[in-house]
């Protein structure tokens, strides 16, 4: 329980460093705590999505590169 509190407090400080002010108006009270926690979760999710996209691009780049090399090899063997 104590470690969770430490984690929560450290995440709040992290998100204060990352996020700046923005106004939200709604008939439903979005609740300050709910907004902060989702901003933290969303930031982590956005980073993981970005890493995922970067990773898939990296993989497709290398697979294309290797594919070309393989194609060249196949073409060379076919020509010979």
């Amino acid at each position: 329980m104590k470690s969770n509190s430490i984690l929560a407090i450290s995440l709040i400080f992290c998100c204060l460093l990352i996020f700046s002010a923005n106004t939200v108006y709604a008939y439903l009270d979005p609740a300050t705590g709910s907004m902060i926690v989702q901003a933290v979760i969303a930031a982590v999710a956005a980073i993981s999505v970005s890493i995922g996209i970067f990773w898939s691009r990296l993989r497709s780049f290398f697979s294309r590169l290797l594919g070309r090399k393989n194609d060249r090899k196949e073409n060379d063997t076919n020509n010979s």
């Binding site: 939200v24 008939y27 439903l28 300050t32 709910s34 989702q38 901003a39 979760i41 956005a46």
Partner: protein, 471 residues
């Protein structure tokens, strides 16, 4: 119905919270007024085809724009006509998987809305209802333009309306779903944190959306209380982050699974084998009656796993199947879900000796069960002896209550000599309410005319009754 009359317009007693618009009824039709605060979002969603997209995907209740003049209340800018829902139901009555599907339908809608620059302005379990065979979001005005870079305003509501009750039902006890009756604005997250076993928070979804969320809420509340909230306000959320949040919520909801005890099904199997002939005789008679009456709305009380509800639904009736056992209604809901599309059956969990009361503002916001009738036919099979002998409700009160809802009643009388009745009486001696055929017939005879009867092989009797005129 508990509604407030405004000349010919009847305002829906559960539609007043959102200043963007309200629901009302006129001449038996259902309409939605859109007031000034809601017109920008409505016009944007309408003109960009968002409504058509959601309706086309089967996520949103359909509507038709109609001329508000001479029809709608004062201040109405736009007016929508909606199809009438067969039965309004509430989360404290839903099977576990129905609540889970209600959560998923919100997230499905969000996945469609976000790339189009829209979102759901709220995420209330009450915004999901059965329209015949499918669950739909019913609040057209929930759809609004997304505020750029803003956190999802309904995130807190989503977690307390869905993640907390689902997790508590699955990992504490399914009966905690009845806590909804007390917490109609959603379960407090601190309660869920207290009641859930700590090791359940090893699941990342529950850790983030319940544990961390609850702690942040408490921390922010404390800061606000002592006036140091400025620093904690108004964070930003990117588009990609919001899509990630929705995916995370989807995984969290999808990962909450209630493994209901299989032992129960074995017991039901044994009872069924014991009463096979009785079930066959009953099914045949019910089939005959439903075919004859052609009811549009059937309430099957004490429906068990819905065997007789299925017969009624096969003739096109919309059937509300009510049983006190959450495992039974869950079993029925799941078996209906597995088929190609639901049948017209809505399984609800409820103790009939303590049916849903009127709740919310002025006890009128959410209707009590008997205000959600009428039923063309009520099935009360193997039920009366439970109400009289287990719950100590006099037969006359049972008959009066049934007559207040149903125009026709198919009721089973189980004689005192039956093993099932003997089982209930084994520790009671003579200390119980009068229960015999004479009392049964005189009590029901006060409110109903007996039209037909069928004596089953085991001595049980089925009576077809029609409510007395003027009753």
């Amino acid at each position: 119905m508990i509604e407030k009359k405004m000349t010919q317009i009847i305002a829906d007693s559960g539609s007043f919270r959102d200043p963007s618009g309200h629901v009302f009824m006129k001449d038996g039709e259902v309409y939605r007024s859109i007031f000034k605060p809601g017109i920008m979002d409505f016009e944007a969603a309408r003109d960009s085809g968002v409504y058509d997209k959601l309706i086309g995907r089967g996520l949103l209740l359909s509507h038709q724009e109609v001329n508000p003049s001479n029809l709608a209340p004062e201040g109405t800018v736009y007016c929508l006509a909606h199809p009438r829902l067969p039965m309004i139901s509430y989360p404290w009555e839903w099977p576990f998987s129905l609540l889970k599907d209600a959560a998923l339908i919100h997230l499905d809608a969000m996945k469609i809305l976000l790339p189009l620059g829209f979102w759901l302005r709220d995420a209330s379990a009450f915004n999901v209802q059965y329209e015949g065979k499918k669950l739909r979001l019913i609040d057209t005005l929930s759809i609004g333009r997304r505020v750029p870079e803003s956190p999802w305003v309904a995130y807190g509501q989503f977690c307390s309306h869905f993640i907390a009750p689902l997790a508590m039902a699955a990992y504490c006890d399914v009966r905690t779903l009845s806590l909804w009756r007390n917490y109609i604005d959603g379960y407090p997250l601190d309660l869920a944190i207290k009641l859930l076993p700590i090791w359940r928070f090893l699941k990342p979804g529950l850790f983030m959306h319940l544990m961390l969320h609850g702690r942040f809420q408490a921390l922010a509340d404390r800061k606000e209380d002592i006036g140091k909230s400025k620093l904690l306000r108004k964070p930003k959320v990117s588009d990609r982050g919001l899509i990630g949040l929705i995916s995370s919520l989807f995984r969290a909801v999808d990962g909450i699974k209630w493994k209901h005890p299989s032992r129960l099904w074995e017991e039901y199997g044994q009872i069924r084998t014991y009463m096979e002939e009785d079930v066959a005789g009953k099914s045949e008679y019910i089939d005959k009656i439903v075919r004859r009456l052609q009811p549009k709305m059937v309430w099957d009380l004490g429906s068990n796993t819905g065997e007789f509800s299925l017969i009624a639904a096969s003739y096109g009736a919309f059937v509300v199947s009510i049983d006190g056992d959450a495992a039974c209604t869950e079993h029925l809901y799941q078996s209906l879900s597995r088929e190609n599309g639901h049948r017209n059956i809505l399984p609800l969990t409820m103790d009939l000796a303590n049916p849903s009361p009127g709740l919310g503002w002025d006890n009128c916001e959410r209707l009590r069960l008997s205000d959600r009738g009428p039923a063309d036919l009520m099935l009360a099979l193997a039920l009366i002896h439970h109400l009289v002998l287990t719950n100590n409700v006099p037969i006359s009160l049972v008959a009066e209550w049934m007559a207040s809802i149903a125009s026709h009643l198919l009721v089973e009388f189980i004689p005192p000599s039956d093993p099932m009745v003997q089982k209930l009486l084994r520790n009671r001696g003579e200390e119980h309410l009068p229960y015999n055929l004479e009392v049964f017939q005189s009590s029901f005879g006060n409110f109903f005319d007996f039209l037909d009867q069928d004596i089953l092989e085991n001595g049980r009797i089925l009576f077809l009754c029609r409510r007395k005129k003027g009753g």
